[in-house]
Amino acid sequence: MMDLLDLILQPWIFIPLIFPGLTTAFLVLLGIIWAERKIAAKVQMRYGPLYVLKPLGGAIQMIADLLRYLFAEPIIPKDVDKLTFIFAPLILFGLSYLPTIVLPAGPGFTAISSEMSLLILLGLLTLSPVFTMILAWGSNNKFSLIGGLREGYLVTTYEIPLFLSALSMAVLYGTLDITAMVEAQKNVWGIFLNPLAAIVFLVLILISTSKFPFEIAEAESEIVMGPFTEYSGIFYGLVMGASYLKLYVLSLLYALIFLGGWYPLPSFLQNPPFLAGIMVFVKGLVIMFIAIFMRAIYPRYRIDQAIQIGWHKLVPLAILSIFLSLLVVYLGGV
């Protein structure tokens, strides 16, 4: 029994399977969509999901929805490209989940310790929109096609400032290793050292996970469900889950590089990694909460306006944030 526990507590098992990997990701997926609906409902002066489990405010609503996805007929329309139609959502989901393996759950507690972990993570994240575009093409639907094109435009818009603002933090800490970046924030969090990068990165999380006001690729009143229009049943569950998983990964990354990761937890509580992990997780939840709260506030931008914001505002700001980092380093660094 203890052997099993020891085995599970090995970072190379614990991280992909428990936290921040599969198990937590799945629970977050169930929780975050429910929370999104509940938060929007509260702002809108109503209850949201409730009767499915009344004492807990309908907390298992997503389980009911998941069951429905599972047992619904997965329609594969006649005119789609079958191979892409079936495999693109699977790969998309996998790719959205994959970056969790490079995220550290505690000091020195990583599945893959690499000096380049930030780059690996960003690189993996960049891949998933490609599959969104592929599945949009494979759906053979005009609305999907437009949605895919919109996704493509947005990718080119947000990737550059996303990299730049992440890199500005790397410049600040002088490392590309996420663990080392967290260690560098022992005294002061990154968000205070480079607030500009923090704001830009937060906006970019909204864009890249297509949250309001940048929910453009699947704008329902314009192009139905965008790339996912033709998907039904469990395939739809996968593509929907993928975008929330991406939010989860980016939120954790945000917590790690801007919000000080497991600090200010005292060092004697950081090992075993549970408490450190919980600390990171809670910070990530805050970011996720902000991202889903935006649904209740904003309508969506038009695609040209979003691209304009990306190139005219976010790119210059991201470049500025690099200079800000250089300035901070010049003035004494961290």
Binding site: Q44, R46, P213, I216, S221, E222, P299, R300, I303
Partner: protein
Amino acid sequence: MSEFVETISRSEDGRFLELLIGPQHPASGHMRLVAEVDGDVVVSLRPNLGYVHRSVEKIAEVKKFLQIIPLVERPSLADTTANNLAYVLALERLLGVEPPPRAQYLRTLLAEINRIHSHFYGIGIHGVMIGSSTAFMWAFGDREPLIHLAQELTGARITYSYIIPGGVRRDMPPDFPDKVEKVLRYIERRLEDYDKLYVRNPVVRARLEGVGVLKKEDAIRLGITGPNLRASGVPYDVRKADPYCAYPDIDFNVITREEGDAMARFLVRVGEIRESMKIIRQVLKKMPDGPIFAEKYYKMLPPNLKKYYEETKEVKFPGIFANLRAPAGESVARVEGGRGEVVIYIVSKGGMNPYRFRIVTPSFRNAVLFEHLVRNVRVADIPAIYGSLDYFPPEADR
């Protein structure tokens, strides 16, 4: 009018993509929009109507005069009072009946309550079309207090059938003015929050300002009506131009704006909500006492029903209402509803049914705006413009 000839220009090389928006589409409502897009730009758009054509005009020819009251209400469900009132005004002109003053005031009261919740309906739909679910929920939530008031007054949530030839069906309950005042204060308070969360929201403004501009001369030329007309700077309002019911005695302004864009149309609606609240307050203050049912029909009631009417202030129909006969002739009436001017034209040859019944609803007259405004705009502007028109397909198709 080369403008409307061949608006859908088939491109030879397949450069344009034809998008069929609707009838099953989150932003199409009960119609189909046939858009031709070049990249992200809409080259042309034609509405395909008729998905809710239920032949009101034909059915009216076999229905009796009183039975047409619910019939004309059905097409525009969010704004039933305007249709009801327009029809009854036309019918009263034909019958030569004049309702007593208190009934006139009660009609005005209901019409304004209905106008507010109809405008909230429009605001909500507009909100959800550009993606703000909160605007939809708030507007539909804030309709409810007003619907509750109308329900206390008439006994139904939406389809009031309240206005009948010669008066109205019920008097208002004694504590009604208090309740109205409470709801109006609530709405005033809420409008401030709308202002903060929605109207001044930079994303909303980016989406609506300068989008779908309708010029003043185009609005006149195309015969646009309602808030859409006034948002282009034409101060035409039937309530001022050809006053009916209690409007001659009431002081209110016609809200206009000069910009003519989607934002202006939205703001005219918000402004009219405020004006309607003003009107409601005045109506309740000036409400005269007296009967609510014309003497002509009251006399026909048997004594027990007269007694019931005096006790409860609830009108019982005289038996003649089942087979109401109108003299030969024709009459036309117009009423300013929430979405614009409702014109009703009745031709009677004498008898129990109209010979020809014509209802022109504001949405039908505004339908031309789709092809006029949605041109050289982006795909994402289609719902933004559509929403701003407050267009209700069943009303257009009848």
